[in-house]
Structure formats: C-alpha cells, structure tokens
C-alpha cells in the first residue's frame, strides 16, 4: 500500500477496499516507528489526523469524495494549520499554535485530504540541507549519513521513506526540487502566483511558491489540481481558468524540443550526475524528443542575485518575530530594546541571523542601489534569457543539483558551498517559471540524482506530461529505500 500511487490509493478508498482511517493509521504507525531516526516530522497529532480520516470516510461513504479524499498528506511546517503547532523550523515559533488555516491547507481540507503531520524544514526555509532546523537535522532515507536536502527536507524524507504518500513543500530557491532530487522523489514548483501564499510563512515573498512533492509526476498532477487556485487574500495570486494538470499526461513527446543550456553543463557538475542526466536525455530522444544546445548567458549570476534579493525581503519579513505579540520572548530583559535584542538573538538560529544581516545591509542607505537595484535589473535580464531560449525549445533540462546528497555536517560550516547547492534551481524562482525535479538514477552509495525540468510560464501540464512519459519507460521513481 505504501508504494501505491495516489490514483491507486484513491481507487482503493473509493471501492472501500481500505478506509482512510486504516491508511492514516498505517502512516501514523510508520511515523511512530521510523520518525525517531529520520526526524522528518516536527509535529504529529494522531487525534486530529484520525478525526480528518473519519470525516473523509464519511464523505466517501456518502459518495461525495474527490481524488484526494482520505489521502494522508504531510504538510510542511511553514503552512499555518488551525489548531496545529506551526513552527517554521524555528525556536521563535516553538509555542505558536496557528489560529487559522493557510490557503493551501484550506484547499486540502476541502478536498477531504488528511493532514498527517507537520514536516521538518530548515529554519524559515533558509537552508539546503535541513540542518538549520531548530528541531534537529533530517536523515536521507537512502543513506542516513547524508542530508535530505532542504529546505523541504522533512517532506522529501517523508515521501521517500514512505511515511506519507504525498507532501507539500515550498520553493524559494530550490527548496522543493533540491530535496526531491537528493531523496529520489518528484517535486514541482509551479509558476509564481498559482499557489496561494496566504498562511505560508514568508521567507522571500517575490520568490516563495508552494508546490507538491510525491513519488511520481502523475501524483504531482493530482496534488496540483488541489493546490492551485486563486486566493483573493494573496495580492500576488493569479486569477486563471481552472486547469486539469493531469490532462496532458498521456501526450506523446514526438517533436518535443529540449533545450540544454551550456551554462548548466559546465564545470562544477559531478561526473555521476552528468552520466545520469546524459542517460535520461537519451531516454527522451528515444521517446521522440530532440535536444538543442541553448545559452542562458546571465544565469550564472542567479546565485549572487538570489542572495541579495532573498535576504533583503527576508530581513523585512522576519521583523514581525519580535517577541511582542506571539512566539518566543527572552526570559529576562532590561528594557524594550533589550527585549527585542535578546528575543531575536535567542529565537533565531545562525543561518537566519546571517540572512537578516545580509538583507539589512543590502537595503541600507547608500548600499541599496549597488545591491538591491542592481540585483533587480539582473533579475530582469535572467528572465529575458529564458524568454529568448523558449524561442528555440519547449522545455529546458539539466541537473537539479551539481552533486548527490552530501554528508550530514559536510557543508554546514561553509555557507558559500551550501548556497551553491541551489546553483541550477534559483533561476526559476527569479523568473517565476515552473520547474520540477524527477529521479533519474543513483550515484555513489545509492544516493539519488535528479533531472531538472524548467518550463515556460503556466506550462505545468507540459512539464508533468514530459516527466510522466519518462516515468512510463523508467522505474527510478518507484524505487524505494525501505
């Protein structure tokens, strides 16, 4: 049952071969047994999950169920969920029980899905290894000495280790795609504005986008059908016609033009990653696609641009965590300034502080033009590179990460090396384009390798189609570490 696709699970639920309570209980049991080692979940609440499962079973019994009714979904602890502890991986919110549901949570609730628990993550989604979490690191289920990636490391681990059939993540610079790649699962970051950011605790507002993480492209399509939708409470939410993201899955890939940016196949990529990607491209050619070399000349600037803009927005977004109204407040202090200083010094971890400092610096008087304004200009140039590239191809492919998962502790002392894990992924956040990662092989010690697919705006259905066709002829996505 744990290796079943969402479609299979949904069918079994509808035919009452299993109940949502049984499925939920099985997940909860596995979490209870395995989470102490993996640490994929920060919060599990059996009572609340089972209550939702019972509601789902009633819905199914009454014949009013949808494709996700009764399916357990692990929610990243960045999404506010009413009555659930919502920590965002931080000590700052160690006591914050959300009084409201995020837009995404509302949509899953309306679909009858079961919240199976809140997954571990890098603190405020700032990290690429899940090691910045206040609630401890997460292990990669393929090799427990490796990181799962981040920031949605708990979500990727939960799906890979079969603790939950599906999960949500958020992606600001690669936080869905990078952990999906390192844990051998599939994940998609939709076009900016498709998934509501209401109730999704902000890291960098202009880059943050929620998305699903699951075993296959087909599963992602079903999840995306629930997650995408206009939300008037988010001013950046896009109002579009409802789309069936599973609608194009079966389309053959004949004539598909795959762009291969020379900048993504340059030095820095490990040979095992290069080999796996090359093999994957060969499969696509067999499926009728052709590859064209393209260039994205400004894309090598993505990381510096990203590390100006994301911290700038974060430094302001995180100002609300001041110990005044909710969240962590220092035990003792002498006056207001001291209360702010101590609460924030004690409540935030080192990486969050580093980014607040960078962000504060680049927005400061006298530096704003040199950093923030210049980065915004480059952001537009990068977007133009992609627009030009889509004149020559339909989809862009490359490795999701330069290497397989690194060892726990290997890069945690070297922020620059850590930031370079997002070298291929952050451009899609800067441009707002949809992008996904699918498993295409293994490297040393059976650590997974991901293929990165970047599509043009609103071409999620096409990306899922391409991935699905690949997954019809390969079996990387059905392999499991457990």
């Amino acid at each position: 049952m744990l290796n079943a696709s969402l479609k299979q699970l949904s069918g079994q639920l509808a035919q009452k071969k299993i109940s949502s309570v049984e499925l939920t209980t099985e997940c909860l049991d596995r979490i209870k047994r395995l989470n102490p080692e993996y640490n994929a979940f920060i919060t599990v609440n059996e009572e609340m999950s089972l209550a939702q499962a019972q509601t789902a079973d009633a819905l199914i019994a009454s014949g009013r169920s949808g494709p996700l009714t009764g399916i357990p979904v692990a929610q990243k602890d960045i999404f506010c969920a009413k009555g659930w502890l919502t920590t965002c991986g931080s000590k700052m919110l160690s006591n914050f029980v959300s009084p409201y549901d995020a837009g995404v949570i509302e949509r899953f609730n309306a679909a009858g899905a079961v919240n199976i628990g809140k997954t571990n993550m890098d603190e405020f989604a700032m990290g690429s290894s899940n090691e910045t979490s206040h609630y401890g690191f997460v292990r990669n289920p393929w090799d427990v000495t490796a990181v799962p990636g981040g920031s949605s490391g708990g979500a990727a681990c939960a799906v890979a280790a079969r603790l939950a059939p599906a999960a949500t993540g958020t992606d600001t610079g690669g936080s869905i795609r990078q952990p999906a790649a390192l844990c051998g699962i599939s994940g998609i970051k939709p076009t900016y504005g498709l998934v509501s950011r209401y109730g999704m605790i902000a890291f960098a507002s202009s880059l943050d986008q929620g998305g699903p993480m699951a075993k296959s492209a087909e599963d992602l399509a079903l999840l995306l059908n629930v997650m995408v939708g206009f939300d008037a409470r988010d001013s950046t939410s896009l109002q579009r016609d409802v789309e069936d993201y599973a609608g194009e899955l079966q389309k053959p890939l004949h004539g598909l033009r795959i762009g291969l940016p020379k900048e993504y196949f340059a030095a820095g990529m490990s040979s095992e990653v290069e080999l796996a990607v090359t093999h994957a491209l060969e499969e696509f050619r067999k499926l009728g696609a052709q590859t064209v070399e393209i260039s994205l000349p400004n894309v090598p600037l993505s990381i510096p641009v990203y590390y100006v803009l994301a911290p700038a927005e974060a430094s302001s977004n995180l100002s609300r965590f001041d110990g005044v109204r909710y969240g962590y407040r220092a035990e003792s202090y002498t006056d207001l300034a001291d209360m702010y200083r101590k609460s924030r010094a004690q409540g935030f971890g080192a990486e969050v502080k580093r980014r607040i400092l960078i962000g504060t610096y680049v927005l400061s008087h006298g530096y704003y033009d040199a950093y923030y304004i210049k980065a915004q200009k480059l952001r537009r140039l990068i977007a133009q590179d992609f627009a030009d590239a889509y004149q020559q191809c339909d989809v862009i492919m490359g490795p999701t990460t330069p290497t397989v998962a690194f060892n726990l502790g290997e890069k945690s002392g070297d922020p620059i090396q850590m930031y370079l894990s997002d070298i291929y992924t952050s451009a899609a956040n800067l441009t707002g384009m949809p992008a996904m990662s699918i498993p295409v092989g293994f490297g040393e010690k059976r650590r997974p390798i991901g293929l990165h697919l970047i599509g043009n705006y609103f071409r999620e259905a096409q990306l899922l189609n391409i991935a699905h066709q690949y997954q019809q002829v390969t079996d990387w996505h059905v392999q499991s570490p457990v």
Binding site: F79, C80, T86, C88, L93, F96, S98, P99, Y100, A102, R197, Y198, G199, M200, I201, A202, A204, S205, S206, A232, R233, D234, S235, T236, A312, E313, S315, S316, L318, S319, R320, F321, D322, V324, R325, Y326, L336, Y340, T360, L363, S364, H365, Y368, Y372
Partner: protein, 501 residues
C-alpha cells in the same frame, strides 16, 4: 529681552517694520498632514476602522501580523486618494508603488509600515489660501497612501506598556507641502483650507480630537533675502490649529535665538508640549532610523486606469474655490461672504437650498445663515447638518420679510420659535399666533398717524420749529400704538410727508 516666544516673534517683526539694520529672518515652513481616510475597513485588511472600540477588538490576523498573513489593498482608500489628487490639480501616478518602511516598535506589528516612497499615488498639485495680503498658492509635493500604527499606552500598566492595535492599518493619506509657507498664520490658513477640502470631498471626517487630521510642521529660518534653506526641525503630531500656530511660533523663536547667539540648529524631530507651550527634542538626526525602504513584494504595483480617474472626476463635487467664485458672480456676494459660506460643503449646500427657494435674495439668505443660523448652531454646539430649521422653512421666513408681512425684528421672534420647533414649524401660523403681522395698509396707518398727531400738538410744533428729535418721539408713539407691528419704513415716510405738508 522677552520671556514668551510669541512676544519674541512680535519683537522681531517690530524691528523689521522699523527698518532696523540688525539681521532679519524669514520663516520657512512645510507641512505634512495625515488625513485618515473615511473607509469602513482598514487599508490592508477587512477589520473595522470605527473609533473608540475596546482595545484590540478591531484587530484581525492581518493587523496583528500573524505569521503568514498578507495585505490586500482597499480600493476605497485608493479612490479617496485619487479624489484628493483631482481636487488639488495633481497628477495621479500609474503605476504607483507601495514600499515598506522598516523599524521596530511594539505598536508596529509587522516591524514595517506599508507606505509609499518612490511613485506616490498623488504627485504635485496646489492649495490656495487666503492671507492678510490676499490669495497665496501653496504647492504640494505629493500625497501618498499608508497605514497607521497602533497605540502604545504607557500609563495604567505597572512597569509595562499596553498595546492597542485597533488603529493599526487605518488608511492615511499623507499630504506633503513644499516649503512655501512663511508664517504660523499661513500655516494655519493652509491647514484649515486643507481640512475644509478633505471634508468637502468626503475623504476624511476631519475629527482632530480623534486624530483623523494631524499635522507635522517642518520649520526653519533663514536670513531674509537668502536662498539657502536653514536646517529644519520637524514638530510632530499637532492635533489642533491653535497648537500648530503656537508650536511654530515657539520653534521660530527658539531657532532665531540660537542663531543670533551664534549657535547652529541641529536637525531633529521635536514634540510640542501644549501644557508648557514649548517644543522639545524627541530624537536627533544621529539616532534617526535608516528605514530601508523597498517595494513591498506582497503588493503589486498599483495600476490606475484613466477610465477610473475619469469616473472619479465626474463624481467629484463642485470644489469650494469654484463655488466661491460662482457665489460672487451669481449672488453678488462679497469674497468674504462667499468664503465663509464655502467653509464647509454642508453650509454651502444649506445656503444654496435656501436661496433656491428664494431667488434673487442671495445676500439676505447669506446674512441670516452667517448670522442667526451660525450663531444659534454655535450656541447649541451643533453642526449645520443637524440644524433644526430646514432651508425651505428659513426661505419661507425670509420671504415674509421680503413681502413686508413682518419686520426684520419680528422675523427674529419667528426664527426663535422655529428653532424651538413651536407651532409645527409653520412660519405663517407663528406670525398669526404671535400677532407679528406688520401693518402695511396705508389707510389704517394714516388714521393712526392722524390720531397721534392730534394727541401730540406740542411735538408737532417742536418739529416744525426745527427740533429733529421730536420726529423720533412721534415715531415711537406710532409704533407703540401699533404694538410694533407697523412697517417702520412706511411709517417714517408717511409721517415725514404729513409733517412737511
């Protein structure tokens, strides 16, 4: 030299008038006015903006800045800003950008205020004010939308502060003038004109006690005849016209005294203490925040279509200045009368409704509204909107003066009765019941006058002998005989004719 700052200013002016050779100073003032916009809900949330609710009962998740919440712009606030822009002849920027102003304070829940920095919604425009030396144009720099902060309450909590976030997120229009103002009197005239305008176009209730209309004054002085601006001090939160005037007077005196003693002005923010009538340092430039403004990524650039601007323009009421000019031509009113009547839209509307019932009597209507009506309203402490006498009743009353049914004096009696709501507020019933009808019948008056002349031969002889005073005595006798109901002008003319016959 002198003890009180305003005396000091007067002393300076005296020297200037006397043409003394010592340094003469020019006062330079720019005002920033925060007008609270009259929307029912907040600028970025659905919470109510009503004043006076128990603390924190009108603060929703967005106002509390809970994790994950996002702002959604209230279209009504934008519409009001555009209304203002159009009424001062400003440009409406599209797009305009919302920016975050970052600083920490407990009553600022997000740790930043959403405001506008580059590209405010309203750019430029002018306000015309009346000064002693005639009309003066004050240029506006800009007007931008922003959210208000909450309130910190430092009393009543032992060793702690209370935070009330009801006000957090209330929409404000910050209206910034150029440094075109040259005296505290001009500053007050500007603030009053602006106050009347925002109420006139219905974007702000103007309630200064509740903080709906607050002024900050940027004050500097420079040697008369020089161009370079002096170092300015900003005086915060002046919530009455009187405080505005007194704070500026004090500040000007303070700055001149420092400069004349050879000192330099420190750029700083100062607070006005009304109890002590002085300003004092709040913070200096050195400890000023770097607000790290940047475009708010949660809000898209605000696009305003020309069609929307046009629609708002069409719905805009006739503006006070336009009406003032129309009253001067259409009703032959003086500029003074016209400006008093257009001080508020309600007063102007009342005037127009009255004169609408009484065509050709603009001056009479103006006199009664500015006199009796305004006096009684003041006495009762009510606004013209709650005036117990409607414009059509007032017009009926005034019509009885015009058609000589009653005298002006009797009309005041009728007015009092109307004000009290007596006799179903029917003018003619009041005249009849109180016996106020004027005797205008020539025959009846002639008989009466003859009787009085016959009964007072001595006065008649005195008058004819050249004693003018005797005439008044005879008038008095006639009025007494009619119990004051005779038409005085008519009596006067008839008596004169008879005596001179």
């Amino acid at each position: 030299m002198c003890n009180h700052p305003s005396e000091f200013v007067r002393y300076r002016e005296t020297q200037f008038l006397a043409g003394n050779q010592i340094m003469q100073w020019e006062i330079v003032i720019g005002l920033e006015v925060h007008a609270q916009l009259s929307t029912r809900s907040k600028i970025f949330s659905g919470a109510s903006t009503a004043y006076g609710a128990p603390p924190n009962t009108q603060a929703c998740a967005i106002d509390l800045a809970l994790p994950g919440v996002l702002p959604v712009l209230n279209k009504g606030a934008v519409e009001r800003a555009i209304r203002f822009g159009l009424s001062v002849g400003a440009a409406i920027n599209s797009p305009s950008i919302f920016a975050r102003k970052n600083y920490f304070y407990p009553d600022l829940p997000k740790g930043y205020q959403i405001s506008q920095y580059e590209l405010p919604v309203v750019q430029g425009g002018t306000i015309r004010i009346q000064t002693e030396s005639g009309e003066k144009v004050i240029r506006l720099t800009r007007a931008h939308l922003e959210e208000d902060a909450g309130k910190s309450l430092h009393e009543d909590f032992h060793g702690m502060s209370g935070i009330d976030l009801n006000r957090a997120g209330t929409p404000l229009l910050e209206i910034v003038s150029e440094p075109d103002i040259r005296s505290s009197a001009e500053a007050v005239a500007y603030a009053k004109t602006l106050h009347a305008l925002v109420r006139w176009i219905g974007i702000c209730d103007g309630n200064m006690q509740e903080g709906s209309f607050r002024c900050d004054a940027n004050v500097s002085v420079r040697p008369k005849g020089t161009e370079k601006l002096g170092t300015r001090c900003e005086i915060k939160n002046l919530n009455s016209f009187r405080f505005l005037e007194k704070a500026i007077d004090f500040e000007v005196g303070r700055q001149i005294e420092i400069l004349e003693d050879g000192g330099v002005i420190r750029q700083e923010t100062r607070l006005y203490d009304a109890n002590r009538d002085e300003t004092r340092t709040m913070r200096t430039k050195e400890d000023a925040n770097d607000y790290r403004y940047f475009p708010d990524p949660d809000l898209l650039p605000l696009e305003i279509s020309p069609a929307w601007i046009e629609q708002i323009g069409r719905a805009l009421p006739e503006l006070p200045r336009v009406r003032q000019e129309r009253y001067m031509t259409e009703f032959a009113l003086s500029q003074y009368d016209a400006s008093v009547l257009t001080a508020s839209r309600e007063t102007a509307d009342f005037f127009e409704a009255t004169v609408g019932h009484l065509p050709g009597q603009g001056k009479l209507c103006a006199n009664w509204i500015m006199g009796e009506i305004s006096g009684q309203l003041n006495k009762d402490g009510i606004e013209i909107g709650s005036c117990p006498i409607s414009p059509d009743r007032l017009a009926t009353l005034l019509a009885r003066i015009v058609d000589k049914t009653i005298s002006g004096k009797a009309a005041k009696t009728v007015f009092d009765s109307l004000w009290k709501g007596e006799f179903g507020q029917d003018v003619d019933t009041i005249i009849a019941e109180k016996g106020l009808k004027q005797i205008s019948d020539d025959g009846a008056l002639e008989t009466l006058i003859d009787q009085v002349l016959t009964a007072n031969p001595q006065q008649v002889a005195d008058f004819r002998g050249g004693k003018e005073k005797a005439f008044n005595s005879l008038i008095g006798q006639i009025m007494k005989a009619t119990q004051g109901k005779a038409n005085p002008a008519q009596v006067n003319a008839m008596l004169k004719r008879k005596l001179e016959a």
